[in-house]
Amino acid sequence: MTDASLPSTEVETSRRRRFFRAWPPAVLLALAWIAFIALVSIFADWLKPYDFMALDLRDRLAEPVFMGGTFRHLLGSDELGRDVLSRLIESVRMSLVIAFLSTLIAAAIGVSLGFLAAHFRGWVEQVILGAIDFMAAIPFLIIALAVLAFFGNTLTLFILLMGMHGWERIARITRGLAIAAKEQGYAAAASEIGASPFRVYGAHILPNIASTLIVAMTLNIPEVILLESGLSFLGLGVQPPLTSLGNMVGYGREYIQTAPWILLSPAVVIILTTLAVSVVGDWLRDRLDPTLR
C-alpha cells in the first residue's frame, strides 16, 4: 500500500509543479481579484446594501465593523451618512467601465491609424507618425485638465477623453505589426485572391496580431484607472452625484483624521486592481509576445 502510493504522490507533485509554473500563484491571485471585481461591477445593483446616494443622517461617520462599528454599515458611512460599501461597489463599477471603454476607444483609434499608416505608407504614414510623436511629447494630464475645465464635464466626454490616452502606443505597435504582416505571405496571398483591404486587415492581419494588441490593451487599463482616479481625486473627473474610486478618495481626504475609513477602502481597491491588471498584463506579455516590451 505504502510503496504503491509513493509514485502516485510523485506524479501528483510534478503535476502540481507544472501547473504552478504555467499559472504562477501571483497571477492566479490577480486573476481571482479581477474576476471578483468584474462580478461585483456586473451585479452591483444586487450587491449594494443601500442606494449609493441614500443619506442616513442619524448615522453619519459611522465606523466600519473592523474598527468597532456596527453591521449596519459594514465599511462605515461618510459625512452625510452614505454607506461606504454601497458607494465603493458603485465606484468600482464606474471606474472599471471607464477604464474598459476608454481602452476600447484607444484601441479602436490606435488600430485604425496603425492600419492606415501601414496600408498607405507615404505621407499618410508620416502624418500619423507625426501625430504619434506629438501625442507622446505632450503632457496629457495637463491637456486633459484644460479640456475638462472648459468643455464642462459629462461622463461621455470624460470617457472619450480618457480614450485619447494610450492610443499612440497601440497605433505604433499596430503599424509595425501590420507592415511586418504585409510582407509575410498570408496577407499578400489574401490580397492576391482579390480580397479587399478591409478583409485583408480585418479578417487576416487583425486576428494574427490580436494577441499582442490584447497585451497592449491590458497594460493600458491600469494607466487609465490611475489617470481617471487622479483626475477624479482633483475633483475634475467623475462628477457628483456619480462616484468613482478616485472621487471617494478625494472627498474622503477631508476626513483623513477623523474618519480615515472613507478613503481607505477605495484606495485599497485602486491599488489591488491596478496591481492585478499589471501582473496579468506582464504575464500575458511574457506568454503571448515576449518581443513587446
Binding site: A189, E192, I193, G194
Partner: protein, 330 residues
C-alpha cells in the same frame, strides 16, 4: 491559335541607392528587362534561372500584383493592370498563384476549410452551402480528405499545405495558375507527388501554367516549353527536350551541365566561371559574357537579341551552340 497569356517587353526597374553609403548615386536595378512570351491555353511554360534572375518578379508582373515599368500583359484578350480596381479583382478569378512556401502563404489563425472557401466568398460565388460543397470537391480533387476541413495549417505536413494552397487557388476555377517554385520548399519525397498532382490537375481542369523553378530537371517534367532567364532577360526558349539535350545558349549549357545524372557524375561539367554579376551593374554587351567560355570581342559590346534558330528554338547569343550534345560540349 491565339495564346491565353501574352507578355510583351515586360520591364521592371528598381531605383536603388548605389554603393558608397549615402554619397552613392542612385542606380538602376534591372530586375526584369524586356521579357516576352506567350502561353497557349492548356499548356505549360517553364521559366528557369538562378535565384535573382527575375523569375519571381516576372510572375508578379504577369499577375499584376506588382506595377510594371514597361511592356504589356494580355490575358484572355484583356490587358492586366496593377491598379487594384474592379477589373483587377475580377481578373483574380481567372488567374491564381501557387506560392513557394505554403506555410507562410496560409493564415495560421484560420482553418483549412475557411481558407479554401475564402476566394469564393470574396468573389461572391454561390450560397454558403454551395461554397462549402465546392470546397470539399476541390479538396478531394487535390487529394485532401474532408477531415482536414477543420484543421489548422500548422497541423498539416508540407505537402498537405501545398495542396491547401492549390485548392484555394482552384476553387475559383481559374484558367491560369502561376506556380512560383511550388515544390522547392517541400521534402524531396513529396516533390514528385505534387508534380504529378499538378500534371493531373492540368488535364482535369484544362489549366494553363506558368511554372517557375530554378531546377531545369523539374521544369522538364511539366513544361511544354521552357524559357531560360538570365539577369532579367530570356536567353533561350524552346522545346524542353531539345533544350535539354542540345542547349544552344552557353548559359543553358551550363545549367544542363550542372544537373547531376548518372552519366555526367564524376566527369568535368561546363561549370560557370565567376560570380553571377549583380543586376545593378549589368555588363555592357551580352550580360553573360564575363562568365561565358565562348565570349569574343563582339559579346562585350553588342547585346544579342532573341533570334530563332534552325530547329524552331530561340536563343539570345551571337555564337549559339548548334546541335552539339550537351555532354560533349564540356
Amino acid at each position: 491559335m491565339s495564346a491565353l497569356l501574352e507578355v510583351e517587353g515586360l520591364v521592371k526597374h528598381y531605383h536603388v541607392r548605389g554603393g558608397g553609403g549615402l554619397f552613392g548615386a542612385p542606380v538602376v536595378l534591372k530586375a526584369v528587362d524586356g521579357v516576352s512570351f506567350a502561353i497557349p491555353a492548356g499548356r505549360t511554360l517553364g521559366l528557369v534561372g538562378e535565384s535573382g534572375c527575375g523569375k519571381s518578379t516576372t510572375a508578379r508582373l504577369v499577375l499584376g500584383t506588382l506595377a510594371r515599368d514597361g511592356g504589356q500583359v494580355m490575358f484572355d484578350g484583356e490587358p492586366v493592370g496593377s491598379v487594384r480596381d474592379t477589373r483587377w479583382r475580377a481578373q483574380r478569378r481567372a488567374m491564381q498563384m501557387v506560392y513557394q512556401d505554403p506555410l507562410s502563404a496560409l493564415d495560421r489563425r484560420l482553418t483549412v476549410g475557411k481558407q479554401v472557401v475564402e476566394p469564393a466568398l470574396v468573389h461572391g460565388l454561390g450560397a454558403s452551402a454551395e461554397r462549402h460543397e465546392k470546397a470539399l470537391t476541390i479538396m478531394d480533387a487535390v487529394g485532401l480528405s474532408s477531415r482536414f476541413f477543420d484543421r489548422y495549417p500548422h497541423e498539416l505536413s508540407g505537402g498537405q499545405r501545398q495542396r491547401v494552397v492549390l485548392a484555394r487557388a482552384l476553387i475559383l476555377s481559374p484558367k491560369l495558375l502561376v506556380c512560383d517554385e511550388p515544390i522547392s520548399a517541400l521534402d524531396v519525397s513529396i516533390q514528385a507527388q505534387v508534380i504529378n498532382l499538378l500534371v493531373d490537375l492540368q488535364e482535369k481542369f484544362s489549366l494553363t501554367y506558368l511554372f517557375i523553378s530554378h531546377d531545369l530537371k523539374v521544369v522538364r517534367q511539366v513544361a511544354h516549353e521552357v524559357a531560360v532567364m538570365y539577369l532579367g532577360r530570356i536567353v533561350e526558349r524552346g522545346d524542353p527536350e531539345a533544350l535539354f539535350h542540345a542547349p544552344a545558349h552557353p548559359y543553358t549549357q551550363a545549367l544542363v551541365g550542372a544537373i547531376p545524372t548518372p552519366r555526367t557524375r564524376g566527369r568535368a561539367r561546363a561549370a560557370l566561371q565567376g560570380d553571377p554579376p549583380s543586376p545593378i551593374n549589368t555588363p555592357p554587351g551580352c550580360s553573360f559574357h564575363p562568365r561565358c567560355p565562348r565570349a569574343e570581342a563582339r559579346c562585350r559590346s553588342e547585346a544579342p537579341l532573341l533570334r530563332p534558330l534552325a530547329d524552331g528554338r530561340f536563343a539570345a547569343c551571337h555564337f549559339p551552340v548548334l546541335s552539339t550534345p550537351a555532354r560533349e560540349a564540356a
